[in-house]
């Protein structure tokens, strides 16, 4: 059990900068999740922590000990891989015990520990099988067993659930969280699935292009995204954006949405006379009598939950490059805003609805730097 620290870590592959100035400190017992679009450098960061990839510059500490120059076997960490990487020529028992054997533990002690781990993961009946004869979920548990039996000071996991089907993924997600709580071992977990990040993490690190965008709890990321990227990436669907002028109406800051006044948070008053980007989450838009009327372009129904699409007034939408949330978010249409409603009402395409953007739910961003204001 230990803290984990990255200090000014950089990683280049030739001219490609995979990680730029990565600084992070993870507390003892934390469940820290790295999340971000494909290719943002999550796996690279994790591999450097494991010692499987050399750092270009910077230092890494585990439990206060500088491990930057140590090999993977000397860092006292255990790792779970996306494809599980079980040793195919060994039985489950040998797979789980391999790390202990390499550390010179006597056979009978290894056996006792392997049996304990197998009991926790309900693998007792499979100990003498080869990985080939296991289901995907069982293989995944063997990979977990291999990690926990070592009692390391940190667990490193790289998308360990992405090869499971949806139902098993949700179930295993909960099992991993419970296991981590019970063992109290500091865990660094990599995923590109924000639902996993939000549900599992005590600390989330949002990454993009090798840079940390924001570090926080799921609540912090949700309520106070530091920039447009985090706001659009976190949440499903992510935040809606539109641009508009900041004006003063009787001393109160307002913007215009298709000509109609929208009240802004009081702190925005200082921006009067400039343009800004405004964000509001799909679940925060209220359907109530108001001067803003829009026609629904598309209605997606998931039973009681519905996603209503409507068009952003001309000239107020962001460009595709401004709203780039990675390859996992290709279906985002910058011309549309979404409303997420849960009610029994039936909505029709083409129908007109009136909306309210609650003043305290509006996020304001700098159009040049994309940073949150206020």
């Amino acid at each position: 059990m230990a803290t984990v620290e990255f200090n000014h870590i950089k990683k280049s592959y030739g001219s490609v900068e995979a990680i730029r100035d990565f600084n992070l400190s993870v507390d003892d017992g934390d469940f820290c999740v790295f999340v971000g679009p494909s290719g943002c450098g999550k796996s690279t960061a994790l591999k450097m922590l494991a010692g499987l990839e050399a750092t270009t510059s910077g230092t890494i500490q585990i439990g206060g000990r500088d491990v930057t120059e140590l090999g993977p076997g000397n860092r006292d960490i255990a790792m779970v891989f996306q494809n599980y990487a079980l040793y195919p020529h060994m039985t489950v028992r040998k797979n789980i015990g391999f790390g202990l054997k390499m550390r010179g533990m006597p056979g009978n002690e290894i056996n006792a520990k392997v049996e304990d781990a197998a009991k926790i993961l309900e693998l007792t009946n499979y100990l003498d099988r080869k990985p080939k004869a296991l289901s995907g979920g069982q293989r995944q548990r063997v990979a977990l067993g291999r990690a926990i039996v070592r009692e390391p000071s940190a667990f490193l996991m790289d998308e360990p659930l992405s090869n499971l089907d949806a139902k098993l993924r949700v179930q295993t997600r909960a099992e991993i969280v419970n296991l981590q709580k019970r063992l109290g071992v500091t865990t660094i977990y990599v995923t590109h699935d924000q639902t996993e990040a939000l549900t599992m993490a005590s600390k989330i690190v949002v990454m993009r292009d090798g840079m940390i965008q924001q570090i926080g709890t799921s609540h912090e990321l949700f309520t106070h995204p530091r920039n447009i990227f985090v706001a659009g990436f976190i949440g499903s669907p992510g935040m809606n954006f539109f641009r508009g002028p900041v004006e003063l109406d009787a001393g109160q800051p307002v913007t215009r949405f298709g000509g109609h006044l929208v009240r802004l948070p009081a702190a925005t008053a200082a921006l009067a006379g400039t343009d800004a980007v405004f964000g509001i989450r799909p679940e925060h838009i209220q359907l109530t009598t108001s001067p803003i009327n829009v026609g629904l372009r598309l209605v997606e129904s998931l039973g009681t939950e519905k996603i209503l699409h409507f068009q952003i007034p001309k000239g107020q939408s962001l460009t595709n490059t401004e709203a780039d949330f990675g390859p996992d978010d290709q279906d985002r249409d910058v011309q549309s805003m979404l409303i997420r409603v849960i009610d029994d009402h039936i909505y029709q395409e083409g129908q007109s609805v009136s909306l309210l953007f609650p003043q305290d739910k509006i996020h304001v961003f700098d159009p040049a730097t994309h940073a949150a204001i206020g």
């Binding site: 499987l52 990487a85 391999f98 995944q140």
Partner: protein, 276 residues
């Protein structure tokens, strides 16, 4: 249903034809060995001799130093196999795992040595071995065969190593294995089918060598191999084909034995199951 039955018949026919074609030379060797000398050129050919001459084997063993030839051949084949594999395992691993500058070019380049005809190399090798005092030693054949076999073995093994996911080794490193130990504890066991195929290749090639043995060992009869011995059975005026075929049959038995031992590795599908 109808079609799959037809397909099955087709497959079986193809299998039977292939097997017959492959086994016919062995069958012909056997009946030639067992026929009396005066029946060998009869026409129409005799497909099974009326009185099989089993005595040909004991006569061969009694009159020729067959055991000595066998011993020399086994020594050469086993030593070549071990030497060639030790070198090519490490070379193939390096080519497969390390991003070397011009790695692909090196890979292709080592194969070009395979394109040179062996006869071209015999004379320079002879000159070198003469200086080193290796002419007449089994090592001369082991070294020559290894140099020719290593490039191809390296290429074969690289192909097998490439299919082993890198994460498997990463997992072993994290588990506390040293980089060198991961080769022996993880990579080689997982590549067992490939290793067996490569070993078999090295063994068979060096077992069937005639050119090098004939050049380097001709003058020292105690170092003769099976192929040299069999060749020497061919007389200047009369050739006892039944004796030669009997010797050839006995010479191919060890190859069959090696194949039987390696077979269970060859047919493995061990790598499946490493991943999800």
């Amino acid at each position: 249903m109808q079609r799959s039955k037809l397909g099955q018949i087709g497959i079986y026919t193809a299998v039977i034809v292939t097997v017959v074609l492959l086994l016919f030379p062995i069958y012909w060797m056997t009946i030639t060995a067992l026929s009396p000398a005066n029946q060998l050129r009869s026409f129409p050919p005799v497909f099974f001799p009326e009185e099989p001459q089993w005595g040909v084997f004991s006569e061969l063993l009694a009159t020729q130093p067959f055991a000595l030839w066998l011993k020399n051949t086994i020594l050469i084949a086993v030593a070549t196999m071990i030497l060639a594999l030790s070198v090519s395992i490490l070379a193939a691993y390096a080519l497969s795992r390390y991003r070397l500058r011009g790695g692909a070019t090196i890979g292709m380049f080592i194969l070009t040595s395979k394109m040179l005809p062996a006869t071209l190399l015999v004379i320079p090798f002879f000159a070198i071995f003469k200086q080193m005092g290796l002419v007449g030693s089994l090592w001369s054949v082991v070294i020559t065969q290894s140099t020719l076999i290593v490039p191809f073995c390296t290429w074969m093994l690289k192909g097998y190593f490439d299919t082993i996911p890198e994460e498997l080794e990463h997992a072993a490193l994290v588990d506390g294995c040293s980089p060198f130990a991961t080769i022996f504890r993880i990579v080689l066991p997982v590549a067992a089918p490939g290793l067996a195929a490569t070993a078999l290749y090295a063994f068979v090639i060096s077992w069937s060598d005639f050119l090098f043995a004939r050049t380097f060992l001709q003058t020292s009869e105690s170092q003769w191999t099976l192929n040299m011995g069999i060749a020497a059975l061919k007389g200047e005026y009369i050739t006892d084909w039944n004796v030669i075929m009997a010797a050839s049959l006995m010479a191919s038995i060890p190859i069959l034995l090696v194949f039987l031992v390696l077979e269970r590795f060859l047919v493995g599908g061990l790598a499946s199951g490493a991943e999800k």
